[in-house]
Symmetry: C2
Subunit: 451 residues, 2 copies
């Protein structure tokens, strides 16, 4: 037992030596932040650093800096983005505008990527009584304040900063880190809350290894034991600054399960490998993939889209909606899908990849008609439409020429119909490719996930 | 209206002229019956003619004569058949023993086919209070008596004999006549009851054309309006001599529907054609069939059995059981069946024919494993069995080599396993044929039904 303890301690030390920003790096980052805030001040706006850097839970290689420009609640929402862009374009270089709930600016400052985000400043908030949110980012200032206070409070016993860094690194390594729509994993704030709740990294791992579906964590006990039934997500972690919000709402069942399994394996045989590319699939070559596909005997068909840049948090849900709607529609035509995946390069290309279990069907299909004791007019309509109708049990059945005997023809038809497609995909023309033609270097990782 | 009435009257006359036994034929049949009964009397047994000849509802071409040899209820059941066979073999020529509930004898007498059946004689029965049945044939004497009395009672207004003959002929022509397991249609007694209940042939047709599922006919009102929920069959006609028996229990939904539809069509445009081969499918040639099958793009696979003679009412239900069980088992392996049919030549050959919609599947299949929050030991078992397991949502999934990628291989396996097969089929070895090899002159009619 003593051995295992010292082994784990050593692993943590080794991990931190690789991921914790050095004193120099810390000083450099803070210096840049101060500079930017000072620059913004010149335009008569206050700004705050938020995110991991503000809470000192940042990782050495994670160089993104989020700065929130604060506005009085009296200013109209649509002014916020405009102003931040104006200011940002004067301070930063290589700027680009992006859109989440409202526009914000991304740019460079002394080599680091900075995001300038507008928010309202509601003054001092009381934890657990946060009601004044106007936009989804307005909570962030309060999250930052909450985590900082908790870390400070614990600091005479433990460095929660480092515990959080370990957890983020562990989650990142097993591919469950990030609340973006394309990842559906654990946000940085969620990792922080778990460490605050359970006390340290290893206790998060121990508890998570035994999580059930609908695990409910109420960090500040805001619901006094009565909140669980109000939330339907696989994992529920109540936001200490807003008891009506589940911080873990983005976490998919699959990512929660992956995390649980990684925790179990780590406890069984702790190793530094869990912190670095544990979830990384081995790269396979195109040739190897062709061999595997042929061996499976399934059929791969993909729809490719080219489009202008769309923020991935807007794009990905639409791509997923399109994938799900297509899957349902294809299966209504009796083809069978074994796997399907959305893919995007995050810039200008997206694709939906289907692996078909049933991709060819006979020329005829059976059509069910009305029962013999329905009103005669229904029956006549069916009998007029289907000259070969016969009684199959109590109802009429007919055999009819099938609309599509090949999955690719069915898919071709559906992507021109576009019923139930994601908003942006209604105006795009998809292009169908199949078999080896799907495979290219960009898209290979998706296949690693499927196969 | 007058025109339609006289048209229908003319049709009935024309039909009866073809199907009603002539005075000569009637005399000849009755003479033979008397002779046989007299012969039996010599062995000190009483016998009764039953069935259509006894009720004078027989058809000219339907030459079967059923004679019941009556035994005292004090005689043991297993003696009955033995005695009848002994007597019959002395009276009849070309005899053969058959088995229903107990053995009986079939043979020739002056060129006519005679069935000698043993039964108990319980004396005078009261209609609607028949409780003493020892074997299923014991009701027959009472049925005969009931129908004869009803015909006699109505005889000053209408010849129910002829109305019944019309109905039997109509049913026979549209292939729904016969309560045998291989037909699942209307028995002669049921046709008689329908005419008694509705009053004449044309009123049976009018009412039947509007039958709903679970139509309930209580001829003698033995249930006083409360019996319907006790019977689950599509058509319920309470036996006037046994209120707990549904005379129509053999009628399948499909045959009831066929009859309803034929009645409707007859009312719309009455014609003599409805009485002669209305339900007859056109014969198609093997060449034509091959063309149709190829055009459909489906796959036909059949299992053939050779066996000793089995009474069709025992054989057919077992064949159907085997067909249904195989269908279910094949679909568990993910193959798709569009049509299936049992076939037998009624002597020594049977077959089950499948038309496959999905007859080829990829080499791999997806196996569902336990969820991540089940006991670890379950998960370990699955993970050890499936080295490629991954988390698909909340549960483990794996891809595995499929046991059967071709429907014929699956079928080959299942007919050696014989799980859930009909009793007689457990000891038989089936032989699989596919595509054109299935087609032979004997079996062609089944295809006419499927296609």
């Amino acid at each position: 037992m003593e051995d295992k303890f010292s082994l784990i301690s050593q692993i943590f030390k080794d991990v931190l030596s690789k991921i914790k920003p050095s004193a120099d790096l810390k000083a450099q980052r803070q210096h840049i932040v101060k500079n930017i805030i000072a620059e913004i001040k010149k335009f008569n706006y206050n700004a705050d650093i938020v995110g991991s850097l503000a809470k000192e839970t940042d990782l050495a290689y994670d160089a993104d800096i989020d700065i929130f420009v604060k506005f009085s609640p009296s200013i109209r929402k649509d002014e916020l983005g405009k102003t931040v862009i104006e200011i940002g374009e004067k301070i930063l270089s290589d700027t680009e505008i992006d859109y989440a709930e409202h526009p914000y600016l991304r740019g460079k400052f002394k080599g680091l990527t900075i995001e300038l985000v507008p928010c309202y400043d509601f003054g001092e908030g009381i934890f657990g009584d946060f009601k004044k949110s106007a936009t989804s980012v307005d909570r962030t200032l309060y999250h930052t304040r909450y985590v900082r206070e908790k870390i400070k409070k614990a600091s005479d016993k433990i460095s929660l900063n480092d515990e959080i860094r370990l957890l983020k690194q562990f989650m990142s390594s097993c591919n469950v880190y990030g609340a973006e729509a394309s990842i559906k994993g654990f946000s940085g704030y969620l990792a922080e809350l778990l460490c605050i709740y359970y006390g340290c990294f290893i206790d998060v791992v121990k508890h998570a290894s035994e999580w059930k579906l609908n695990t409910f964590i109420d960090v500040e006990n805001l619901w006094e034991g009565h909140g669980k039934i109000l939330f339907g997500e696989p994992l529920i972690v109540i936001d200490p600054v807003d008891k009506n919000r589940n911080v873990a709402s983005a976490v998919s069942e699959e990512n929660m399960a992956k995390f649980i399994y990684a925790c179990r394996k780590f406890l069984l045989s702790p190793s530094i490998d869990f912190f670095f590319n544990a979830g990384k699939k081995e790269k396979i070559t195109v040739e190897e993939l062709i061999r595997i596909i042929n061996e499976r005997g399934t059929k791969f068909i993909a729809v490719f889209y080219e489009h202008p840049y769309i923020n991935i948090n807007n794009l990905y849900p639409q791509l997923e909606k399109t994938r799900k709607t297509l899957t349902k529609q294809i299966e209504n035509f009796k083809f069978g899908i074994m796997n399907s995946k959305s893919w995007t390069n995050g810039k200008n290309k997206s694709a939906i990849i289907f692996e078909f279990e049933i991709f060819e069907l006979p020329n005829v299909e059976t059509i069910n008609g009305p029962p013999i004791d329905t009103p005669i007019s229904y029956q006549e309509t069916f009998l007029n439409m289907h000259k070969n109708a016969k009684l199959g049990g109590w109802k009429w059945i007919a055999s009819s020429k099938r609309k599509f005997t090949k999955a690719e023809d069915c898919l071709k038809f559906l992507i021109t119909q576009k019923h139930g497609f994601g908003k942006e995909f209604i105006n795009l023309e998809g292009k169908i490719e199949q078999d080896e033609k799907i495979l290219n270097d960009e898209i290979m990782d998706v296949f690693a996930e499927i196969l």
